[in-house]
């Protein structure tokens, strides 16, 4: 029952398209990229064997167009499609359309996507499988009034969530009754804009909990294994910012128990390929099913680094009909991995997007570093797509070493021309709360970006730096007037440098 394919279309862009293309190339598969007009120079276009334009920059005219992507697959003779994450990755119509066109969809069955894609239905599946869920509505909310009634019953705070949701979109916390109406409207609009479906449901907001998820892999023969957990509690406005594996609060026994439950959820929907079961974990180590993501996660590399398993390679093997070569017994979590999501957002301006051209990229490298990114010198950060532009992932023998390694990697990583959240990550890596691993998913709500500079030593250094640059700019300008050659180097060093570059 092997489904041989030699050519894979990657229906995505950005770092995940590049990451999937890499595994395809390493498996000797031919690759096909698709790109919007904004992405002609993108790495995924340049790294693929073939590349096809599929329309205007807005995703719904390109990366979300099932017809255009299937048309390219036909023209290019692609026999399989990898959807990456986001875009069409959790769209059951797309998975079904692939199957109807004789193209292998590298992901779960359309029926599994449908079962888990509707978050309300997914809660029912979990409940039926005997998995604990967060208290909440059993069906969709038709009106604000319905939401009010439920909220009264469960008590505030509550969480409004998109039935078609994922990635924190269409989600709003409501702490008092008077916030409800506005939050309902905003969440529904956002859900409609993001998923084309504004249906909402609600859950009691559990506080002081962690977001811990379990990676699973299943083959078409009913074998399902889990690959340990990912700690994803470091979130800003429900967007994951830093993930790590293992979690500091998950011991071997809890890992086994959560893993078994995750496998049970997957089995309940006859799950094939890679997937992730998300849980909330409270202080007493009780865990509650949140949802299942029926795709590769952004944060999958940390699992790869601690288990040594290449998840994209396994996805492709499973999709081609192979039996899982992994058994639960030979999956061992070794060392510690951390991922920082680097985005073009300005932490000093309320995390607003920082658009523009990245003139130069200085990438961190060396032992234990992995950088999954799609940026390059000259890359234009635009507003069309997600502001996340790189994932910096480190592995080390222990969590403490991984934090130190991440710190030096963040210091090395420089993107010139735009602002990024790298300084924010640096501050987090220095936070005693993070270092101690004593946080829950509300950690960033109260995190203070400002560093303590009690001695004023750092401000003094900044003053020296700023004045030195001002002085240098002035000197270069005046020498320019004098006819001397301007340059990147400070003017007063030019002569010495010129001398130095002569052959001795």
């Amino acid at each position: 029952m092997l489904t041989t394919f030699r050519k894979v279309l990657v229906a995505n862009r950005g770092e995940i398209a590049v990451r999937v293309l890499r595994s395809c190339a390493e498996l000797g598969l031919h690759t096909v990229a698709v790109y919007s007009e904004a992405d002609r120079n993108a790495l995924h276009v340049r790294y693929a064997d073939e590349a096809y334009s599929i329309g205007a920059p807005p995703a719904k005219e390109s990366y979300l167009s099932i017809d255009k992507i299937l048309d390219v697959a036909r023209r290019a003779g692609a026999e399989a499609i990898h959807p990456g994450y986001g875009f069409l990755s959790e769209n059951e119509q797309f998975a079904q359309a692939c199957q109807d066109n004789g193209i292998v969809f590298i992901g779960p069955r359309a029926s599994s996507i449908a079962a888990m894609g509707d978050k309300i239905a997914a809660r029912k599946v979990a409940k039926a499988a005997g998995v604990p869920t967060v208290p909440g509505t059993d069906g969709p909310l038709a009106t604000v009034e319905e939401a009010e009634a439920f909220a009264k019953k469960f008590g505030y705070p509550i969480l409004l969530k998109a039935a078609a949701g994922g990635g924190g979109k269409g989600m709003r916390t409501v702490r008092t009754p008077d916030e409800l109406a506005s939050a309902f409207r905003l969440a529904a609009n956002e859900a409609k804009a993001a998923f084309g479906d504004g249906t909402l449901y609600l859950e009691k907001l559990l506080e002081g909990v962690r977001h811990v998820e379990i990676q699973i892999l299943g083959d078409r023969y009913g074998n399902v294994v889990h690959l340990g957990e990912r700690e994803c509690s470091i979130q800003r406005r429900r967007q994951k910012l830093i993930e790590e594996s293992p979690s500091t609060v998950v011991d071997e026994d809890l890992r086994r128990r959560m893993g078994e439950v995750a496998v049970r959820v997957a089995e309940a929907v006859n799950y094939e390929n890679a997937g992730t079961v998300e849980f909330l974990l409270d202080r007493d180590k009780n865990f509650y099913f949140l949802e299942m993501n029926t795709r590769l996660q952004v944060e999958h590399p940390i699992t790869e680094l601690v288990t040594g398993v290449d998840l994209v390679v396994e996805q492709i093997r499973i999709a081609s009909g192979r039996k899982l070569r992994l058994t639960q017994r030979n999956i061992v979590v070794k060392g510690a991995a951390i991922e920082c999501r680097v985005s073009a957002e300005d932490p000093y301006n309320d995390f607003l997007p920082s658009i523009g051209r990245i003139t130069h990229v200085y990438e961190p490298s060396g032992p234990g570093i992995r950088l999954d990114t799609s940026i390059y010198d000259g890359f234009e950060v635009s507003l069309y797509y997600d502001p996340m532009i790189a994932k910096l992932i480190v592995w080390a023998e222990t969590r403490a070493q991984a934090i130190l390694r991440m710190r030096r990697a963040l210091e090395e990583f420089k993107l010139v021309g735009i602002r990024t959240n790298i300084p924010f990550h640096l501050r987090l890596m220095e936070s005693p709360t993070f270092i101690a691993g004593r946080f829950d998913n509300s950690f960033l709500d109260s995190f203070n970006l400002a560093a303590s500079d009690e001695s004023g030593e750092h401000a003094r250094l900044a003053a020296v730096a700023a004045a030195a640059v001002a002085y240098q700019l002035k000197q270069v300008k005046s020498r320019k007037v004098d006819g001397a050659q301007p340059g990147n180097d400070s003017a007063w060093k030019l002569a010495a440098r010129r001398a130095a570059l002569r052959l001795s």
């Binding site: 200085y362 300084p423 924010f424 900044a462 003053a463 020296v464 002085y471 240098q472």
Partner: protein, 168 residues
């Protein structure tokens, strides 16, 4: 050449001198040896201060400087002695108008207008909803006031810095 740098409510006075192809700066009691190199345009520098090595981002716009060192950002005002004198003169002729333009903090599309001219608004009250990168963001009033004018309409695309609402 003397420079005055304001940062975090402090003002530093720095005096630069060149000697034997090296750059020195006097700051308070200390005399520091500097070696500053621009690593790449527009903002990355390597700075040695008495042999201590720093990689810093410096953004300059007029006399407003932003300096990023590791995980710390500083906003500074840098003036040389001449500019400072000039600024002191100009300050005397400045006028406070009392009007405040609320501008778009990022490019995006206007989803909804939540106020009308003449409305009294509280600090933190929603004025306009902007959509960018698939997220909706409510632009809130930075202070108590009255809406003088609404300068955009729903559905309109706006650039960063565009005035949305004027308060008085």
């Amino acid at each position: 050449m003397k420079y005055y740098v304001e940062v975090d409510d402090r003002t530093f006075e720095l005096d630069f001198q060149e000697e034997d192809e090296l750059l020195y700066v006097h700051l308070g009691e200390s005399r520091l040896t500097l070696d500053l190199r621009q690593i790449s345009q527009p903002s990355l520098y390597s700075l040695l201060v008495d042999n201590r090595s720093y990689e810093i981002f410096v953004e300059a716009r007029g006399d407003e400087f932003n300096v990023l060192i590791g995980g710390e950002m500083f906003q500074l005002k840098v003036q040389d002695e001449w500019t400072r004198r000039l600024a002191n003169i100009q300050r005397k002729s400045g006028v406070e108008t009392g009007e405040l333009a609320v501008v778009a903090p990022m490019p995006g599309a206007v989803v909804a207008i939540e106020v009308s001219p003449g409305d009294e608004v509280k600090r933190g009250q929603g004025l306009v909803i902007l959509s960018a990168m698939k997220m909706e963001n409510e632009i809130k009033s930075p202070r108590v006031g009255r809406v003088k004018s609404v300068d955009v309409s729903a559905g309109q695309t706006v650039e960063q810095g565009r005035t949305l609402v004027v308060l008085e």
